[in-house]
Protein backbone atom coordinates (compact mmCIF):
# COMPACT_ATOMS: atom_id res chain seq x y z
CA UNK A 1 0.00 0.00 0.00
CA UNK A 2 2.69 2.45 1.08
CA UNK A 3 4.36 2.95 -2.26
CA UNK A 4 1.23 3.22 -4.31
CA UNK A 5 0.24 6.46 -5.91
CA UNK A 6 -2.96 7.97 -4.57
CA UNK A 7 -3.47 10.97 -6.83
CA UNK A 8 -1.60 11.87 -9.98
CA UNK A 9 -1.99 15.04 -11.93
CA UNK A 10 -0.44 15.46 -15.35
CA UNK A 11 0.26 18.69 -17.22
CA UNK A 12 -2.78 20.22 -15.63
CA UNK A 13 -3.76 23.69 -16.83
CA UNK A 14 -6.95 25.29 -15.56
CA UNK A 15 -8.40 28.73 -16.21
CA UNK A 16 -11.63 30.56 -15.45
CA UNK A 17 -11.62 32.50 -18.67
CA UNK A 18 -8.72 34.93 -18.61
CA UNK A 19 -5.23 33.70 -17.73
CA UNK A 20 -4.54 30.25 -16.34
CA UNK A 21 -4.93 29.80 -12.60
CA UNK A 22 -3.01 26.54 -12.68
CA UNK A 23 -0.24 26.18 -15.22
CA UNK A 24 1.20 22.85 -16.29
CA UNK A 25 1.01 21.28 -12.85
CA UNK A 26 2.36 17.79 -12.73
CA UNK A 27 2.81 15.54 -9.70
CA UNK A 28 2.16 12.17 -8.12
CA UNK A 29 1.21 11.80 -4.48
CA UNK A 30 1.93 8.86 -2.18
CA UNK A 31 -0.68 6.80 -0.37
CA UNK A 32 -1.16 6.79 3.39
CA UNK A 33 0.23 10.21 4.20
CA UNK A 34 -1.08 13.52 5.47
CA UNK A 35 -0.20 15.88 2.68
CA UNK A 36 -0.32 19.65 2.88
CA UNK A 37 -1.04 21.92 -0.05
CA UNK A 38 0.34 25.37 0.65
CA UNK A 39 0.71 28.56 -1.32
CA UNK A 40 -0.33 32.20 -1.11
CA UNK A 41 -3.90 33.48 -1.59
CA UNK A 42 -5.08 33.04 -5.13
CA UNK A 43 -2.35 30.54 -5.95
CA UNK A 44 -4.85 27.99 -7.21
CA UNK A 45 -5.12 25.60 -4.26
CA UNK A 46 -8.91 25.45 -4.22
CA UNK A 47 -8.90 25.24 -7.99
CA UNK A 48 -6.55 22.26 -7.81
CA UNK A 49 -8.83 20.42 -5.39
CA UNK A 50 -11.92 21.16 -7.43
CA UNK A 51 -10.24 19.96 -10.58
CA UNK A 52 -9.17 16.74 -8.89
CA UNK A 53 -12.79 16.24 -7.79
CA UNK A 54 -14.04 16.87 -11.33
CA UNK A 55 -15.91 20.05 -10.40
CA UNK A 56 -13.86 22.03 -12.89
CA UNK A 57 -12.87 21.00 -16.37
CA UNK A 58 -9.13 21.46 -17.04
CA UNK A 59 -8.20 23.15 -20.30
CA UNK A 60 -5.47 20.57 -20.67
CA UNK A 61 -3.97 17.69 -18.75
CA UNK A 62 -5.68 15.02 -16.70
CA UNK A 63 -6.12 13.58 -13.23
CA UNK A 64 -5.92 9.97 -12.15
CA UNK A 65 -6.95 8.51 -8.82
CA UNK A 66 -5.44 5.19 -7.77
CA UNK A 67 -4.39 4.78 -11.38
CA UNK A 68 -7.98 4.99 -12.58
CA UNK A 69 -10.16 7.72 -13.93
CA UNK A 70 -12.15 9.69 -11.38
CA UNK A 71 -15.51 8.24 -12.34
CA UNK A 72 -14.32 4.71 -11.70
CA UNK A 73 -13.29 5.51 -8.14
CA UNK A 74 -15.79 8.16 -7.05
CA UNK A 75 -16.65 6.26 -3.91
CA UNK A 76 -12.98 6.09 -2.91
CA UNK A 77 -12.50 9.82 -2.67
CA UNK A 78 -14.18 12.30 -0.32
CA UNK A 79 -14.26 16.07 -0.52
CA UNK A 80 -14.55 18.59 2.29
CA UNK A 81 -15.30 21.98 0.72
CA UNK A 82 -14.41 25.29 2.31
CA UNK A 83 -16.85 25.82 5.18
CA UNK A 84 -17.98 29.16 3.77
CA UNK A 85 -19.06 27.57 0.49
CA UNK A 86 -22.54 26.74 1.80
CA UNK A 87 -25.33 28.59 3.60
CA UNK A 88 -25.42 27.26 7.15
CA UNK A 89 -28.92 28.66 7.67
CA UNK A 90 -30.22 25.70 5.68
CA UNK A 91 -32.96 23.85 7.58
CA UNK A 92 -31.06 20.68 8.36
CA UNK A 93 -29.68 18.98 11.45
CA UNK A 94 -26.14 17.70 11.95
CA UNK A 95 -27.46 14.22 11.28
CA UNK A 96 -29.10 15.31 7.99
CA UNK A 97 -25.89 16.82 6.66
CA UNK A 98 -23.68 13.91 7.68
CA UNK A 99 -26.17 11.55 6.02
CA UNK A 100 -25.40 13.27 2.72
CA UNK A 101 -22.05 11.48 2.87
CA UNK A 102 -23.99 8.27 2.25
CA UNK A 103 -25.69 9.58 -0.89
CA UNK A 104 -24.40 8.37 -4.21
CA UNK A 105 -25.27 7.98 -7.83
CA UNK A 106 -26.95 4.64 -7.32
CA UNK A 107 -28.71 5.06 -4.00
CA UNK A 108 -30.16 8.55 -4.17
CA UNK A 109 -33.71 7.30 -4.58
CA UNK A 110 -33.71 4.61 -1.93
CA UNK A 111 -34.02 5.28 1.78
CA UNK A 112 -30.85 5.01 3.89
CA UNK A 113 -30.60 1.54 5.42
CA UNK A 114 -29.43 0.46 8.86
CA UNK A 115 -25.82 0.26 7.76
CA UNK A 116 -25.96 3.86 6.55
CA UNK A 117 -27.49 5.02 9.82
CA UNK A 118 -24.82 3.16 11.78
CA UNK A 119 -22.01 4.73 9.75
CA UNK A 120 -23.49 8.20 10.15
CA UNK A 121 -23.81 7.81 13.93
CA UNK A 122 -20.21 6.61 14.12
CA UNK A 123 -18.96 9.52 12.05
CA UNK A 124 -20.78 12.02 14.23
CA UNK A 125 -19.33 10.39 17.30
CA UNK A 126 -15.83 10.41 15.86
CA UNK A 127 -15.81 14.16 15.48
CA UNK A 128 -17.31 14.58 18.95
CA UNK A 129 -20.68 15.99 17.93
CA UNK A 130 -22.97 13.32 19.40
CA UNK A 131 -24.51 15.87 21.76
CA UNK A 132 -25.36 18.08 18.80
CA UNK A 133 -26.75 15.36 16.57
CA UNK A 134 -30.22 16.89 16.21
CA UNK A 135 -29.25 20.52 16.36
CA UNK A 136 -29.86 22.74 13.39
CA UNK A 137 -26.55 23.48 11.68
CA UNK A 138 -27.01 27.25 11.94
CA UNK A 139 -26.83 26.91 15.70
CA UNK A 140 -23.29 25.53 15.71
CA UNK A 141 -20.01 27.35 16.12
CA UNK A 142 -17.65 27.64 13.18
CA UNK A 143 -15.44 24.87 14.53
CA UNK A 144 -18.45 22.59 15.03
CA UNK A 145 -19.64 23.29 11.50
CA UNK A 146 -16.21 22.34 10.23
CA UNK A 147 -16.46 19.07 12.12
CA UNK A 148 -19.87 18.42 10.57
CA UNK A 149 -18.25 18.65 7.15
CA UNK A 150 -15.49 16.29 8.23
CA UNK A 151 -18.03 13.83 9.62
CA UNK A 152 -19.88 13.94 6.31
CA UNK A 153 -16.67 13.02 4.50
CA UNK A 154 -15.92 10.28 7.05
CA UNK A 155 -19.35 8.83 6.35
CA UNK A 156 -18.26 8.26 2.75
CA UNK A 157 -15.78 5.61 3.94
CA UNK A 158 -13.34 6.68 1.27
CA UNK A 159 -9.61 6.03 0.85
CA UNK A 160 -8.62 9.55 -0.06
CA UNK A 161 -9.81 12.73 1.66
CA UNK A 162 -9.41 16.20 0.22
CA UNK A 163 -9.96 19.05 2.69
CA UNK A 164 -10.11 22.72 1.76
CA UNK A 165 -8.83 24.81 4.68
CA UNK A 166 -10.37 22.76 7.47
CA UNK A 167 -8.59 24.91 10.07
CA UNK A 168 -9.85 28.28 8.92
CA UNK A 169 -11.51 30.07 11.82
CA UNK A 170 -11.01 27.11 14.16
CA UNK A 171 -9.37 27.39 17.57
CA UNK A 172 -6.22 25.52 18.52
CA UNK A 173 -8.06 22.85 20.51
CA UNK A 174 -10.41 22.02 17.65
CA UNK A 175 -7.51 22.09 15.22
CA UNK A 176 -5.60 19.49 17.17
CA UNK A 177 -8.70 17.33 17.64
CA UNK A 178 -9.29 17.41 13.88
CA UNK A 179 -5.64 16.58 13.26
CA UNK A 180 -5.83 13.59 15.57
CA UNK A 181 -8.86 12.28 13.68
CA UNK A 182 -6.95 12.68 10.43
CA UNK A 183 -3.86 10.98 11.90
CA UNK A 184 -5.97 8.07 12.95
CA UNK A 185 -7.22 7.79 9.39
CA UNK A 186 -3.70 8.01 8.05
CA UNK A 187 -2.75 5.14 10.34
CA UNK A 188 -5.49 3.11 8.72
CA UNK A 189 -3.75 3.70 5.39
CA UNK A 190 -5.92 6.54 4.15
CA UNK A 191 -4.52 9.48 2.24
CA UNK A 192 -5.36 12.95 3.50
CA UNK A 193 -4.76 16.05 1.39
CA UNK A 194 -5.21 19.35 3.21
CA UNK A 195 -5.11 22.91 1.93
CA UNK A 196 -3.43 24.86 4.67
CA UNK A 197 -2.75 28.50 5.31
CA UNK A 198 -0.82 28.84 8.51
CA UNK A 199 2.87 28.33 7.71
CA UNK A 200 3.70 28.14 11.40
CA UNK A 201 1.88 24.89 11.91
CA UNK A 202 3.07 23.20 8.75
CA UNK A 203 5.82 21.38 10.61
CA UNK A 204 3.40 19.95 13.15
CA UNK A 205 0.76 18.74 10.77
CA UNK A 206 2.31 17.39 7.60
CA UNK A 207 4.80 14.82 6.48
CA UNK A 208 4.51 15.63 2.80
CA UNK A 209 3.99 18.95 1.04
CA UNK A 210 2.81 20.38 -2.25
CA UNK A 211 3.93 23.97 -2.70
CA UNK A 212 1.90 25.83 -5.26
CA UNK A 213 1.79 29.19 -6.93
CA UNK A 214 -0.04 28.77 -10.23
CA UNK A 215 2.85 26.48 -11.11
CA UNK A 216 4.05 23.65 -8.94
CA UNK A 217 6.96 25.08 -6.93
CA UNK A 218 7.95 21.91 -5.12
CA UNK A 219 6.58 18.70 -3.73
CA UNK A 220 7.99 15.95 -1.62
CA UNK A 221 8.82 15.12 1.97
CA UNK A 222 8.53 17.94 4.45
CA UNK A 223 12.26 18.53 4.95
CA UNK A 224 12.98 18.72 1.24
CA UNK A 225 10.18 21.11 0.45
CA UNK A 226 9.89 23.38 3.46
CA UNK A 227 13.01 25.37 2.76
CA UNK A 228 13.60 29.07 2.61
CA UNK A 229 14.34 28.91 -1.08
CA UNK A 230 11.16 27.09 -2.03
CA UNK A 231 9.02 29.27 0.18
CA UNK A 232 10.43 32.45 -1.25
CA UNK A 233 9.77 31.11 -4.73
CA UNK A 234 6.17 30.52 -3.76
CA UNK A 235 5.52 33.61 -1.69
CA UNK A 236 7.73 35.98 -3.66
CA UNK A 237 7.70 39.54 -2.38
CA UNK A 238 6.86 38.89 1.24
CA UNK A 239 10.26 37.32 1.71
CA UNK A 240 11.39 39.18 4.82
CA UNK A 241 8.41 38.26 6.89
CA UNK A 242 8.71 34.79 5.54
CA UNK A 243 12.34 34.19 6.39
CA UNK A 244 11.59 35.35 9.88
CA UNK A 245 8.98 32.65 10.15
CA UNK A 246 11.32 30.03 8.84
CA UNK A 247 14.03 31.08 11.25
CA UNK A 248 11.70 30.96 14.19
CA UNK A 249 10.61 27.53 13.14
CA UNK A 250 14.16 26.30 12.68
CA UNK A 251 15.46 27.80 15.90
CA UNK A 252 12.76 26.39 18.11
CA UNK A 253 12.14 22.76 17.59
CA UNK A 254 8.76 23.48 19.00
CA UNK A 255 7.01 25.92 16.69
CA UNK A 256 5.37 28.96 18.20
CA UNK A 257 1.71 29.14 17.53
CA UNK A 258 0.64 32.52 16.37
CA UNK A 259 -2.69 32.35 14.64
CA UNK A 260 -3.21 33.62 11.12
CA UNK A 261 -0.03 35.39 10.25
CA UNK A 262 -1.15 36.67 6.90
CA UNK A 263 1.75 36.35 4.54
Amino acid sequence: MKDQISIEVHNLTVSYGAGPVLWDVDFELPTGKIIGVIGPNGSGKTTLLKTIMGLLEPSSGYVKIQNKSLNEVRDKIAYVPQRTSVDWDFPASVYDVVMMGRYGKRNLIRRPNNADVEIVEQSIQKVGLSDFRDRQISQLSGGQQQRVFIARALAQKADIYLLDEPFAGVDAATESSIISILEEMRNEGKTVLIIHHDLQTVLEHFEYLVLLNTRLIAKGNLQEVFTKENLSNAYGGQLTLLSKVVEIIKATDFPIREKDVDL
Binding site: G54, L55, Y79, P81, V86, D96, V97, M100, Y103, Q136
Partner: protein, 289 residues
Protein backbone atom coordinates in the same frame (compact mmCIF):
# COMPACT_ATOMS: atom_id res chain seq x y z
CA UNK B 1 -70.67 25.67 -3.90
CA UNK B 2 -68.76 27.93 -6.27
CA UNK B 3 -66.90 29.42 -3.33
CA UNK B 4 -65.98 25.98 -2.18
CA UNK B 5 -64.39 25.13 -5.53
CA UNK B 6 -62.53 28.42 -5.70
CA UNK B 7 -61.04 27.88 -2.26
CA UNK B 8 -60.17 24.28 -3.02
CA UNK B 9 -58.52 25.14 -6.31
CA UNK B 10 -56.60 28.07 -4.87
CA UNK B 11 -55.43 25.90 -1.99
CA UNK B 12 -54.05 23.41 -4.47
CA UNK B 13 -52.25 26.22 -6.28
CA UNK B 14 -50.82 27.31 -2.94
CA UNK B 15 -49.71 23.81 -1.99
CA UNK B 16 -48.12 23.04 -5.35
CA UNK B 17 -46.31 26.36 -5.42
CA UNK B 18 -45.20 26.28 -1.78
CA UNK B 19 -43.58 22.86 -2.06
CA UNK B 20 -41.38 23.95 -4.95
CA UNK B 21 -41.01 27.44 -3.52
CA UNK B 22 -39.22 25.98 -0.50
CA UNK B 23 -36.44 24.71 -2.75
CA UNK B 24 -36.30 27.92 -4.76
CA UNK B 25 -36.01 30.00 -1.61
CA UNK B 26 -33.31 27.76 -0.17
CA UNK B 27 -31.39 27.93 -3.43
CA UNK B 28 -31.79 31.73 -3.45
CA UNK B 29 -33.38 31.41 -6.86
CA UNK B 30 -36.71 33.08 -6.22
CA UNK B 31 -36.42 35.19 -9.33
CA UNK B 32 -36.03 32.04 -11.39
CA UNK B 33 -39.68 31.29 -10.62
CA UNK B 34 -40.65 34.75 -11.77
CA UNK B 35 -38.60 34.35 -14.94
CA UNK B 36 -40.10 30.99 -15.83
CA UNK B 37 -43.66 32.07 -15.13
CA UNK B 38 -43.34 34.87 -17.68
CA UNK B 39 -41.15 33.15 -20.20
CA UNK B 40 -43.55 30.26 -20.79
CA UNK B 41 -45.90 32.60 -22.64
CA UNK B 42 -44.63 31.88 -26.18
CA UNK B 43 -44.82 28.15 -25.43
CA UNK B 44 -48.42 28.53 -24.36
CA UNK B 45 -49.31 30.52 -27.46
CA UNK B 46 -47.64 28.11 -29.88
CA UNK B 47 -49.16 25.08 -28.22
CA UNK B 48 -52.56 26.74 -28.23
CA UNK B 49 -52.18 27.62 -31.88
CA UNK B 50 -51.55 24.01 -32.84
CA UNK B 51 -54.02 22.35 -30.53
CA UNK B 52 -56.68 25.02 -30.84
CA UNK B 53 -57.90 24.36 -27.37
CA UNK B 54 -56.85 25.41 -23.94
CA UNK B 55 -57.49 22.08 -22.29
CA UNK B 56 -54.97 20.20 -24.40
CA UNK B 57 -52.07 18.45 -22.67
CA UNK B 58 -50.02 19.89 -25.52
CA UNK B 59 -50.33 23.23 -23.72
CA UNK B 60 -48.65 21.83 -20.65
CA UNK B 61 -45.95 20.21 -22.70
CA UNK B 62 -45.27 23.32 -24.73
CA UNK B 63 -45.10 25.49 -21.68
CA UNK B 64 -42.97 23.09 -19.68
CA UNK B 65 -40.57 22.89 -22.60
CA UNK B 66 -40.34 26.67 -22.84
CA UNK B 67 -39.71 26.79 -19.11
CA UNK B 68 -36.80 24.39 -19.48
CA UNK B 69 -35.42 26.37 -22.39
CA UNK B 70 -35.63 29.48 -20.22
CA UNK B 71 -33.72 27.84 -17.39
CA UNK B 72 -31.15 26.55 -19.85
CA UNK B 73 -30.70 29.93 -21.52
CA UNK B 74 -30.26 31.65 -18.16
CA UNK B 75 -27.62 29.13 -17.08
CA UNK B 76 -25.86 29.41 -20.40
CA UNK B 77 -25.70 33.19 -20.28
CA UNK B 78 -24.48 33.14 -16.70
CA UNK B 79 -21.95 30.33 -16.94
CA UNK B 80 -20.66 30.32 -20.49
CA UNK B 81 -21.09 33.92 -21.58
CA UNK B 82 -20.36 35.02 -18.00
CA UNK B 83 -23.12 37.55 -17.68
CA UNK B 84 -24.10 38.46 -14.13
CA UNK B 85 -26.74 36.06 -12.79
CA UNK B 86 -29.64 38.47 -12.34
CA UNK B 87 -28.91 40.21 -15.66
CA UNK B 88 -29.09 36.90 -17.51
CA UNK B 89 -32.47 36.27 -15.88
CA UNK B 90 -33.70 39.72 -16.88
CA UNK B 91 -32.54 39.37 -20.47
CA UNK B 92 -33.97 35.92 -20.98
CA UNK B 93 -37.43 36.25 -19.59
CA UNK B 94 -38.29 39.69 -20.88
CA UNK B 95 -37.17 38.58 -24.34
CA UNK B 96 -39.29 35.44 -24.27
CA UNK B 97 -42.27 37.26 -22.79
CA UNK B 98 -41.99 39.92 -25.47
CA UNK B 99 -42.00 37.24 -28.16
CA UNK B 100 -45.17 35.85 -26.60
CA UNK B 101 -46.78 39.28 -26.58
CA UNK B 102 -45.96 39.79 -30.26
CA UNK B 103 -47.47 36.41 -31.05
CA UNK B 104 -50.71 37.20 -29.27
CA UNK B 105 -51.09 40.72 -30.59
CA UNK B 106 -49.90 40.13 -34.13
CA UNK B 107 -48.95 36.88 -35.73
CA UNK B 108 -51.56 34.63 -34.26
CA UNK B 109 -54.21 37.25 -33.75
CA UNK B 110 -57.62 35.81 -34.40
CA UNK B 111 -56.37 32.24 -34.21
CA UNK B 112 -55.44 32.36 -30.61
CA UNK B 113 -57.98 33.30 -28.05
CA UNK B 114 -55.64 34.25 -25.25
CA UNK B 115 -56.12 37.41 -23.33
CA UNK B 116 -52.90 38.99 -22.05
CA UNK B 117 -54.68 40.35 -19.00
CA UNK B 118 -55.81 36.87 -18.17
CA UNK B 119 -52.27 35.56 -18.55
CA UNK B 120 -50.84 38.21 -16.26
CA UNK B 121 -53.51 38.38 -13.61
CA UNK B 122 -55.60 35.25 -14.01
CA UNK B 123 -59.17 35.26 -12.89
CA UNK B 124 -59.97 32.86 -10.15
CA UNK B 125 -63.62 33.93 -10.03
CA UNK B 126 -64.04 32.62 -13.57
CA UNK B 127 -62.75 29.09 -13.08
CA UNK B 128 -66.27 27.85 -12.43
CA UNK B 129 -67.29 28.68 -15.98
CA UNK B 130 -65.16 25.82 -17.27
CA UNK B 131 -66.85 22.89 -15.61
CA UNK B 132 -66.39 19.21 -15.85
CA UNK B 133 -69.79 17.59 -16.13
CA UNK B 134 -70.36 13.91 -16.75
CA UNK B 135 -73.58 12.22 -17.77
CA UNK B 136 -74.98 15.55 -18.77
CA UNK B 137 -75.75 16.69 -15.28
CA UNK B 138 -73.31 15.36 -12.69
CA UNK B 139 -71.12 18.32 -11.83
CA UNK B 140 -67.64 17.27 -10.84
CA UNK B 141 -66.10 20.69 -10.35
CA UNK B 142 -64.11 23.17 -12.42
CA UNK B 143 -61.51 21.93 -14.85
CA UNK B 144 -58.84 24.08 -13.22
CA UNK B 145 -59.22 22.08 -10.04
CA UNK B 146 -58.44 18.82 -11.81
CA UNK B 147 -55.53 20.34 -13.68
CA UNK B 148 -54.06 21.49 -10.36
CA UNK B 149 -54.74 18.09 -8.86
CA UNK B 150 -52.85 16.27 -11.59
CA UNK B 151 -49.97 18.76 -11.37
CA UNK B 152 -49.95 18.29 -7.61
CA UNK B 153 -49.73 14.52 -7.93
CA UNK B 154 -46.83 14.84 -10.36
CA UNK B 155 -45.01 17.27 -8.07
CA UNK B 156 -45.51 15.13 -4.99
CA UNK B 157 -44.33 12.03 -6.78
CA UNK B 158 -41.12 13.70 -7.92
CA UNK B 159 -40.45 15.47 -4.63
CA UNK B 160 -40.92 12.27 -2.65
CA UNK B 161 -38.81 10.15 -5.00
CA UNK B 162 -36.20 12.83 -5.57
CA UNK B 163 -36.19 14.31 -2.08
CA UNK B 164 -32.53 13.58 -1.41
CA UNK B 165 -31.53 14.85 -4.84
CA UNK B 166 -33.36 18.13 -4.33
CA UNK B 167 -32.02 18.48 -0.80
CA UNK B 168 -28.45 18.00 -1.97
CA UNK B 169 -29.00 20.41 -4.85
CA UNK B 170 -30.28 23.04 -2.46
CA UNK B 171 -27.65 22.67 0.24
CA UNK B 172 -24.40 21.87 -1.52
CA UNK B 173 -24.44 21.35 -5.26
CA UNK B 174 -20.65 21.01 -5.53
CA UNK B 175 -20.65 18.23 -2.97
CA UNK B 176 -23.25 16.40 -5.03
CA UNK B 177 -21.02 16.70 -8.07
CA UNK B 178 -18.11 15.42 -6.00
CA UNK B 179 -20.22 12.38 -5.12
CA UNK B 180 -20.57 11.74 -8.84
CA UNK B 181 -24.25 12.68 -8.94
CA UNK B 182 -25.60 14.39 -12.04
CA UNK B 183 -26.72 17.65 -10.46
CA UNK B 184 -27.78 19.08 -13.81
CA UNK B 185 -30.45 16.43 -13.97
CA UNK B 186 -31.87 17.52 -10.61
CA UNK B 187 -31.63 21.18 -11.50
CA UNK B 188 -33.54 20.81 -14.74
CA UNK B 189 -36.04 18.44 -13.19
CA UNK B 190 -36.78 21.12 -10.63
CA UNK B 191 -37.03 23.80 -13.32
CA UNK B 192 -39.42 21.55 -15.25
CA UNK B 193 -41.62 21.23 -12.17
CA UNK B 194 -41.55 24.97 -11.58
CA UNK B 195 -42.64 25.45 -15.20
CA UNK B 196 -45.47 23.02 -14.64
CA UNK B 197 -46.65 24.86 -11.54
CA UNK B 198 -46.61 28.25 -13.20
CA UNK B 199 -48.34 27.03 -16.34
CA UNK B 200 -51.19 25.30 -14.60
CA UNK B 201 -51.60 28.21 -12.24
CA UNK B 202 -51.47 31.12 -14.63
CA UNK B 203 -55.12 30.81 -15.59
CA UNK B 204 -56.10 30.82 -11.96
CA UNK B 205 -53.80 33.34 -10.33
CA UNK B 206 -51.88 34.81 -13.25
CA UNK B 207 -48.21 34.87 -14.12
CA UNK B 208 -47.40 37.79 -11.86
CA UNK B 209 -48.89 36.64 -8.60
CA UNK B 210 -47.97 32.97 -8.90
CA UNK B 211 -44.52 34.06 -7.78
CA UNK B 212 -46.16 35.19 -4.54
CA UNK B 213 -47.55 31.71 -4.00
CA UNK B 214 -44.13 30.23 -4.78
CA UNK B 215 -42.02 32.43 -2.56
CA UNK B 216 -43.93 34.03 0.32
CA UNK B 217 -45.18 30.93 2.18
CA UNK B 218 -41.76 29.28 1.80
CA UNK B 219 -39.95 32.36 3.07
CA UNK B 220 -42.37 32.56 6.01
CA UNK B 221 -41.83 28.91 6.85
CA UNK B 222 -38.07 29.38 6.77
CA UNK B 223 -38.36 31.83 9.64
CA UNK B 224 -39.68 29.27 12.08
CA UNK B 225 -38.58 25.79 10.98
CA UNK B 226 -35.34 23.93 11.53
CA UNK B 227 -35.68 20.94 9.23
CA UNK B 228 -36.56 20.60 5.59
CA UNK B 229 -39.69 18.44 5.78
CA UNK B 230 -41.36 20.57 8.47
CA UNK B 231 -40.48 23.61 6.38
CA UNK B 232 -42.35 22.16 3.40
CA UNK B 233 -45.46 21.37 5.44
CA UNK B 234 -45.38 24.71 7.21
CA UNK B 235 -45.09 26.52 3.89
CA UNK B 236 -48.16 24.65 2.60
CA UNK B 237 -49.97 25.60 5.80
CA UNK B 238 -49.18 29.28 5.39
CA UNK B 239 -50.26 29.08 1.76
CA UNK B 240 -53.64 27.60 2.68
CA UNK B 241 -54.21 30.13 5.46
CA UNK B 242 -53.52 32.94 3.01
CA UNK B 243 -56.01 31.43 0.56
CA UNK B 244 -58.77 31.10 3.16
CA UNK B 245 -58.33 34.45 4.83
CA UNK B 246 -57.72 36.17 1.50
CA UNK B 247 -60.86 34.74 -0.03
CA UNK B 248 -63.20 35.90 2.70
CA UNK B 249 -61.44 39.22 2.97
CA UNK B 250 -61.86 39.78 -0.77
CA UNK B 251 -65.56 38.91 -0.59
CA UNK B 252 -66.08 41.18 2.35
CA UNK B 253 -64.22 44.13 0.88
CA UNK B 254 -65.23 43.31 -2.68
CA UNK B 255 -61.69 43.34 -4.09
CA UNK B 256 -59.58 41.02 -6.25
CA UNK B 257 -59.48 37.54 -4.75
CA UNK B 258 -55.95 36.67 -5.82
CA UNK B 259 -54.71 40.07 -4.78
CA UNK B 260 -56.19 39.63 -1.34
CA UNK B 261 -54.68 36.15 -0.97
CA UNK B 262 -51.17 37.36 -1.78
CA UNK B 263 -51.60 40.44 0.39
CA UNK B 264 -52.61 38.25 3.33
CA UNK B 265 -49.63 36.02 2.60
CA UNK B 266 -47.30 39.01 2.71
CA UNK B 267 -48.82 40.37 5.92
CA UNK B 268 -48.52 36.92 7.44
CA UNK B 269 -44.82 36.95 6.60
CA UNK B 270 -44.24 40.22 8.45
CA UNK B 271 -46.36 39.12 11.41
CA UNK B 272 -44.39 35.89 11.76
CA UNK B 273 -41.15 37.81 11.42
CA UNK B 274 -42.12 40.18 14.22
CA UNK B 275 -43.40 37.47 16.53
CA UNK B 276 -40.25 35.51 15.85
CA UNK B 277 -38.04 38.46 16.75
CA UNK B 278 -40.07 39.06 19.91
CA UNK B 279 -39.79 35.46 21.01
CA UNK B 280 -36.04 35.33 20.51
CA UNK B 281 -35.64 38.59 22.41
CA UNK B 282 -37.63 37.15 25.27
CA UNK B 283 -35.50 34.02 25.26
CA UNK B 284 -32.40 36.14 25.41
CA UNK B 285 -33.76 38.04 28.37
CA UNK B 286 -34.58 34.80 30.17
CA UNK B 287 -31.06 33.57 29.51
CA UNK B 288 -29.47 36.70 30.86
CA UNK B 289 -31.32 36.49 34.17
Amino acid sequence: MNDFWIILTASLVAINASVLGVFLVLRKMSMMGDAISHAVLPGIVVAYYFSGDRTSPLMLLGAALTGLITAFLIDWLAKKVKIQGDASIGITYTLLFAVGMIMISGWFKGNVDIDLDCVLYGDIAMINLDKIIVDQNLYLGPRAFYVELVAGLIIFLFVILGFRGFKLLSFDEDYGLALGINMNFWHYLMMGLVSLVTVVSFEVVGAVLVIGFLIIPAATAQLITKRLIPMIFTACGFGIIAVLVGFYLANWMNVSITGAMIAVSGILFFKVMMINAMVSRKKLRVKMH
